[in-house]
């Protein structure tokens, strides 16, 4: 299974959702576009792009919902010829999150909606409140950073 998570509590509910709803891709993200966990993407940079676009769709559709209906749309569905996209909010103790799922004929919108409800409940139970990051990298990280950037820019 091509699953990766940025927070350990995400893995169990996301795996359950993927198994139940039979989706090709599933991403749990913060509305700012930061990924919390994903299934299906092979490259991390593709996950980041999917998250940035999903966050943009969420932000603009919320604004559109407020404009035309006086409230944000809680979920969106796009039915393509072969694949479909489902984007919905997931309330969590630390604030709202987003679930992006891509599926085909092996699943259905009804199944997605059903298991999205279960996913919301699991996330509500398991997600911790927002925690500030503890020190992660060494105090003298600059040397490594500069070396990596120089390699990226062909200056090494």
């Amino acid at each position: 299974m091509r699953m990766s998570v940025a927070a350990s509590w995400v893995e169990a509910p996301l795996k359950q959702f993927v198994d139940d709803a039979r989706v090709h891709y599933a991403v749990l993200l913060h509305p700012s576009g930061q990924v919390l966990g994903q299934y299906g993407f092979a490259r991390s940079v593709d996950v980041m792009t999917a998250c940035a676009l999903a966050a943009a769709i969420d932000a603009s559709s919320r604004a559109l919902g407020m404009l035309v209906e006086g409230k944000a749309f809680p979920s969106l569905h796009y039915a393509g010829r072969e694949r479909q996209i489902f984007l919905a909010e997931v309330p969590a103790p630390g604030g709202r999150l987003l679930l992006l799922a891509v599926f085909d004929w092996e699943s259905s919108l009804g199944l997605l909606q059903l298991y999205h409800e279960e996913f919301r409940a699991r996330v509500g139970e398991m997600a911790p409140p927002i925690a500030h990051n503890a020190p992660a990298i060494a105090a003298d990280f600059e040397k490594e950073l500069n070396k990596n950037l120089a390699v990226m820019f062909g200056r090494a």
């Binding site: 940025a6 927070a7 943009a56 990051n133 503890a134 990298i137 990280f141 990596n148």
Partner: protein, 201 residues
């Protein structure tokens, strides 16, 4: 909100290039995209108008490699600079770990630079963020233009850099200053995850 996964040792940071319309924010990302090898970057996404003005944002994911044993990734965003895209700028700014303010060095753009800088602070405040606590660098772009068209860096510093943040002279179209700017904001953002400052957040 830098995401740090201690189990898989991964760090993901969001950096937003901010500034007035046509100051060169997208040009910065285009230059970076052109320099970075394909295995270290994703596709550059540009949600733009038919005339190539940024409509929502540009987005470029970068893999910086390993730093202190953590696989480190940066998400680079630009905002639309035009005044009427205020709401969009605010949305893109959400959750930013660092900001690059790209100023247009042309004399006639000074008022737009100041207005955009104030807009940045107002939008951060709307997100409940104290702008003084956000890693910020300023890039004075278009310094390659003839001297009679642009303001010298010292004067731009007087007008914009009252916080005394790191600043860089640049010609984003051809590259000078782009790398240095990215390195500068990267250092500031990652320093917040190092023992020297992380405990104080």
């Amino acid at each position: 909100m830098s995401l740090v996964n201690y189990a898989t040792r991964e760090i993901t940071c969001k950096i937003v290039y901010y500034g007035p319309g046509r100051s060169g924010k997208t040009t910065n990302l285009h230059y970076i995209y052109g320099q970075v090898p394909s295995d270290r970057k994703g596709q550059m996404v540009s949600l733009a108008t038919q005339t190539d003005r940024t409509l929502f944002f540009d987005f470029l994911p970068l893999d910086l490699g390993t730093i202190s044993g953590f696989t480190t990734r940066f998400q680079l965003y630009t905002v639309p600079g035009q005044v009427y895209y205020q709401a969009t700028r605010k949305l893109v700014l959400q959750g930013a770990d660092g900001v690059v303010f790209v100023a247009d060095s042309q004399s006639r753009q000074l008022a737009e630079n100041i207005e955009s800088f104030q807009d940045l602070h107002a939008n951060l405040a709307d997100h409940g963020v104290d702008a003084r606590g956000v890693p910020l660098v300023i890039q004075y772009n278009k310094q390659d233009l003839p001297g009679d068209l642009i303001l010298p860096v010292a004067e731009l510093e007087d007008q914009l850099n009252f916080r005394g943040v790191p600043s860089y002279s640049a010609d984003a179209l051809h590259g000078p200053g782009v790398f240095e700017t990215l390195r500068g904001i990267s250092e500031l953002v990652l320093r917040r995850l190092s023992p020297t400052t992380a405990g104080g957040r």
